[in-house]
């Protein structure tokens, strides 16, 4: 139900993202979706990619501050209102969403989010028959 996301600590400074991206490029890692917020000094660059565990090891060996984070991933029909539907049932279960981002992959909408508490979110997903994406599913979509 969860997939691996890379969380990379970067400085709000020219060239810092490039350093990370070059390492991933060198290793032949394919990016699926990435996000970073506009902050004052530092940021957490969040990355969904192919072979996240290998990418994590490579980045760590290169001395980058990186964490492998488990995030929830849902597949949504590419239609208006689907994201709202999903969030409605999750919120109704008393779960708060720490952060979220969506993208299109193979004609399907993908919603990535970190939930607190995570167990309750999983429960809500199962009970409401939301379609979740596992690590293997994601690589199939690539």
């Amino acid at each position: 139900m969860t997939i691996h996301q890379l969380s990379i600590f970067v400085e709000n400074q020219q060239g810092t993202l490039l350093k990370v991206l070059d390492i991933l490029k060198e290793a032949g890692i394919q990016l699926v979706a990435t996000t970073i917020a506009d902050t004052q000094e530092y940021g957490i660059y969040r990355v969904i990619c192919s072979e996240p565990t290998r990418a994590y090891i490579i980045l760590k060996e290169a001395g980058i501050n990186v964490a492998l984070t488990d995030v929830l991933a849902l597949e949504l029909d590419n239609q208006p209102g689907r994201a709202a539907d999903a969030i409605r049932v999750i919120s109704a279960a008393g779960v708060s969403i720490k952060y979220m981002y969506t993208f299109l992959l193979g004609g399907k909408g993908v919603m990535i989010f970190r939930a607190d508490p995570c167990d309750k979110a999983k429960e809500a997903i199962i009970l409401n028959k939301l379609k979740f994406i596992a690590e293997e599913d994601l690589s199939k979509l690539l």
Binding site: Q5, F9, I44, N65
Partner: protein, 444 residues
Amino acid sequence: MIKFPVPDDSCEYFDKEHETMTREQIEALQVERLRETVARCMKNPIYKKRLEEAGVTPESISSVADIRRIPFTTKSDLRDNYPFGLSCVPLRDCVRLHSSSGTTGNPTVILHTQNDLDEWANQVARNLWMVGLRPDDVFQNSSGYGMFTGGLGFQYGAERLGMLTVPAAAGNSLRQIKFMRDFGTTALHAVPSYVTRLYEVMQEQGVDPRKDTKLKVLAIGAEPHSEEQRQRIQNMLGVKAYNSFGMSEMCGPGVGFECKEQNGLHFWEDYYIVEIVDPETLEPVPDGEIGELVLTSIKREAMPLLRYRTRDLTRVLGRTCPCGRNHVRIDRMKGRSDDMMVLRGVNIFPIQIEKILMNFKELASNYLITLTTDQDNDNMTVEVELEELFTDDYGRLESLRKEVTRQLKDEILLTPIVKLVPKGSLPVSEGKAVRVVDKRKVYQ
């Protein structure tokens, strides 16, 4: 007791006899007083052993240059012999002590006899008289009191001169300004950053120091500042600001002070022997070259210090002056031969910062301290590398940053700006680590 009468207001000198001595007279007096001091130090077992090992006796001193045969004294000697190990008189003869905070280990203690305090007051009075202050003046001392010698040192000196003295102490700017206006303060002593602060508050309150106060003289010291900063302070308040040098080990303020020429500080050579040495070789450097200031107090009873390494870097500007005083003129401090930082009058060592950062397992060992000046306020930024990205949560990173800031503040008494930076982003130290970048230009 060494209280001589306060001279007429028209006299240029507070202690004409000593202030206007020729170089020959100064040096003859120094030899005499150095002999007395060595004899006094022989009463202390630690000094006695050192002097005997170096083969120094009072009789063997025949010129000022003979001082080079005497071993140096350092701050560690004071710490290692804390509190009273270096005293040269019985404790019953001492009437006061001043202690400096123990930033990196034991604090240090300096003892004073009544004569020491009287001489100290005379020194400070001499300085204040030199810049034109007279018994009609009102002297406000906005310096910290208590163990910090800038408080009582200036207090007794200003009283000795005969001024009405306002022991305002540091802080509470609104009250300081009220005192200045109500009591007709004509002279103010404070650390330079506090003078700037006072001016800011005056502006907020719509007080024009030129019109609304009677200020005519500022004494600034206890924290390094550039000529540029001095000029700015003078322009703000519309009065002359004179640089003061002191250190508790030598007594406190009063060791050196600028005359009206504002061209170097006269260090009083009837009280101290001044040497400038190469901090590596410890050999004397020629006049004009920068080296470490080494001071020997030659008129103190309780705790004279022989060839004390101040760690301050400076140089000799000259030994004559249009003001008629032939006491050596020393440039403003140019830096430190150790890694001590002076920020808003507080002495801070990088090791204090390091000690706190090491407590956090989330942080790596690489850090960088940057000192900057923002409108005359000194700021410290501490950048530290993150060891592991232990969270994906901005909130938890922010909590870490706040906790580091809080613990640093408890240690150094100032609130630094703490920045978390990625591992590997700070300059890697080659050999001696560059931990401090001082962008304040205070030593220019």
